[in-house]
Symmetry: C2
Subunit: 217 residues, 2 copies
Amino acid sequence: MPVSSLSNAKPSVPPRTAPRASPKGQQTRAAIVDAALSLASQVGLDGLTIGHLAELMHMSKSGVFAHFGSREDLQVSVVWEYHHRFRAEVFEPAIRAERGLPRLRALFDNWVHRINAELASGCLFTSGAVQFEAQDGPVRDALTASVSTWLEALSRAIEQAKVQSHLHPECDAAALSFHIHGLILSLHYQTRFLKAPDALRHATSGFDQLIQQHSAN
Amino acid sequence: MPVSSLSNAKPSVPPRTAPRASPKGQQTRAAIVDAALSLASQVGLDGLTIGHLAELMHMSKSGVFAHFGSREDLQVSVVWEYHHRFRAEVFEPAIRAERGLPRLRALFDNWVHRINAELASGCLFTSGAVQFEAQDGPVRDALTASVSTWLEALSRAIEQAKVQSHLHPECDAAALSFHIHGLILSLHYQTRFLKAPDALRHATSGFDQLIQQHSAN
């Protein structure tokens, strides 16, 4: 796998706006998705209804329906908007860090920072996993595709750190990625749900220990 | 802290049945809680309604209400029933293992086993954390009290492993407990939501690496 592949985005992510809509139509659609994302952060993706959204937007339900064929289309659009924002806040600043361990660390730090920043709202990747765990369909597919993209980015950053001789060549990237994801999930759970005061410290010291354990030196 | 304290159960857990009810009343109440737990495993604690439950039990709504003052009381009873089952499946078999590392490993293994066994239904500790994250009240309190009991049991098992010289005396029990909980959450997320085939292997190898890293030898 070429080390440049961290910048690949698989699976292909739909554009933010419908390509054939007029500029005004695109603007309205973007405003609806923005409001829908805020709403979903409070009530969950599965709590999102076109009626509630229309009320918030001071639009008719048919006005909202004109931009999204169905509630499901709207939910999928919200997932991809969340994906774009995650990319902008977590992934893109990390890709500007030096390849190898600095980039891996930036990816982790930005992810942790985002969890803390989202304290007042919610993380769609976590709530969505619970809400759509047993509901096959396009919303679940969009969520798993998006999360998988970021877990693969984490694995690729680990592979690059091996290539750069920052991590030991025998380090299992998939296993370490699983382990780091665990620290992120534990941080999320213990901060948001248990309100544990030491969670951030445990997550960062846990990451440092993992890196030390897999260090090439 | 005395090493025997792993067997303490804090916070105090309510009894399974209302103490003043007749044997017949206790039996009915237990049957309702059992059905409610099955239902909650499918639709979530927040999806539990007395109407739906009455229908499942072939009872009137007022018949169900006679055993539980409110929907919230029913939800709290379901959380404690889940707690009792978790104790029986994860905690009690572990307490029979030798104190120290064998007990810590048994606790982890039983927890992992339970996650796999619950694949067809759901884990209330995970779904409940999302559903009641922002809803203060007795249901959230019961959930956090129950989860905290098991995380404290994990920390105590680590402390005992230090006393037994199985783990290094400088090992930070709270940090290691956070880390192990991360492996459990990652296993849950990647198995149930992403259907990742290697999740179990990653969780167990992650645990082995953590133990090795903190080993006294």
